[in-house]
């Protein structure tokens, strides 16, 4: 099918984009377009028929990758393929690069953006889980100015974020990995590039062989990506070894009640998450040991 008619807006600055949105009778009638790799299918299938499309592709200065001290800021309009190939991101937040390899296919990532994926907030998508795992901060701009939203408060529900209808996500801030840090991403999908039945993002910091901090986010198991807080506290202070990983996997799985749908049963998802948590913890702690 083809998209339904819409009024098309092409702001050239973030301020202008916000002005367009806040100037509409009902900003809820508008969709903001980034790379379009999620929105275009919805428009083509007419699952979404917005009256207005506000296209960010002509906005300047939203596609920069900047490192200032310990903070890595990825512009919301950075194409996923560019981020995947960025040495700066690879050094500061390797989890982002690893997870991006699972997003769609290369031709999708050439166009898709990191900000678009996060603002779309598909609970089975990779970037929202990564943002949640890394305690990323979403930088948004609205009519009242800018604000910073922590990942833990950003994902509110199915395809629903803390962004208001008049706000635009402008960038994502990550804290750069320090010594002793390691991360890993793992997911199970029917075909490579499909949305995962379940996925796991893990970040650990080791102090010797002891886990100083562990962060685990799970995708595809609910209306939003979720943090496995029980597993995280079970790991804190534990020796980074199989026993602790198994306990964390059990704690993660037991806290989840994923739904059954045509892709996978809830029981299967619960099982898969446990396996993925163990695998990702093994990989992440190995990487942390190599990063002293």
């Amino acid at each position: 099918m083809k998209p339904a008619s819409f009024e098309y807006w092409t702001p050239t600055s973030v301020d202008e984009a916000v002005k367009v949105l806040s100037g509409l009778d009902d900003p809820g009638d508008a969709k903001v377009m980034a790379g379009g790799q999620s929105l275009m299918p919805l428009l083509n299938l007419r699952l979404s028929q917005p009256l207005h499309v506000v296209d960010l592709n002509g906005v300047d200065g939203m596609a920069d990758i900047r490192r200032e001290g310990d903070t890595l800021t990825v512009g919301a309009m950075c194409r996923q393929r560019a981020v995947e190939r960025s040495a700066e991101v690879s050094a500061a937040a390797p989890l982002v690069v690893e997870a991006l390899g699972n997003v769609g296919h290369p031709a999708i990532r050439n166009r898709g953006t990191v900000g678009g994926s996060i603002a779309h907030a598909d609970p089975a998508a990779e970037m929202p889980a990564v943002a949640l795992c890394l305690d990323a901060e979403m930088v948004a701009q609205g009519p009242a100015g800018g604000r910073v939203i922590p990942a833990t408060e950003f994902f509110e529900g199915f395809l629903t974020t803390a962004l208001t209808e008049e706000e635009v996500l402008t960038g994502i801030r990550f804290t750069a990995d320090g010594p002793g840090s390691g991360s890993a991403f793992a997911e199970v999908a029917r075909r490579h590039g499909d949305f995962a039945m379940a996925g796991v993002a893990v970040h650990v910091r080791l102090d010797g062989d002891t886990v100083a901090q562990a962060r685990i986010a799970v995708s595809g198991v609910g209306l939003t990506p979720v943090r496995a807080t029980g597993a995280e506290s079970s790991l804190r202070g534990a020796t980074a070894a199989e026993d602790a990983f198994a306990a964390a996997a059990a704690a993660t799985s037991s806290a989840l009640r994923p739904a059954t749908d045509l892709h996978a049963s809830g029981a299967y998802r619960t099982h898969v998450v446990g396996v993925l948590v163990r695998r990702a913890l093994r990989t992440a702690t190995d990487r942390a040991r190599g990063n002293r």
Partner: protein, 171 residues
């Protein structure tokens, strides 16, 4: 909604046209310009048949608007070789017998052509069959069983990397 004037370079020719903002790049190529070699399968980014190069990068033309190509360069399968000739990628696929019905072929050709260009430019490209499969994972073929397509891609990329030796393999 009002039409927009766009200027797009397609296969080296500059086209200026009025388009509805909702017109996809795929429909612009096929209906406005009559370049029907770019095929449309699923229209939601799953099948890869509509893959073209936008400023040298493979993209789904069903998931971009025509207005997104304003001021940019598009390459379709019509533009990779002189009329009546075949590009080395096409020859490699031909020699591998990499098609049956041919509907998906333009998308495969453009995806492999994008990699082949990278290889020739010494930018590195996938070489192993696993890497090639990963790069081709976004193109669906219902007839061939893929082996012959991977064979053709491997032959084309091996020839191209041979001509740009010393290039580094991506990842």
């Amino acid at each position: 909604m009002s039409d927009r004037e766009i200027t797009v370079t397609v296969n080296g020719t500059v086209h200026t046209a009025l388009v509805e903002p909702r017109r996809t790049l795929a429909d612009f190529l096929r209906h406005t310009l009559g370049l029907t070699a770019t095929h449309l399968g699923c229209e939601h980014g799953v099948c890869g048949a509509c893959t073209v190069l936008l400023d040298g990068e493979a993209v789904r033309s069903c998931l971009a608007l025509a207005v997104h190509a304003d001021g940019h360069e598009v390459t379709t399968v019509e533009g990779i070789a002189e009329p009546g000739q075949m590009h080395p990628v096409q020859t490699a696929l031909w020699e591998s017998g990499a098609f049956q019905c041919g509907f998906c072929t333009p998308g495969f050709v453009m995806t492999i052509y994008g990699m082949e260009r990278d290889a020739r430019a010494g930018r590195g490209c996938p070489r192993s069959r696993t890497e090639i499969r990963e790069e081709l994972s976004g193109n669906i073929c219902r007839c061939s069983g893929y082996q012959a397509i991977v064979d053709g891609a491997e032959a084309a990329l091996t020839a191209a990397t041979g001509s740009a030796s010393g290039s580094e393999t991506r990842r």
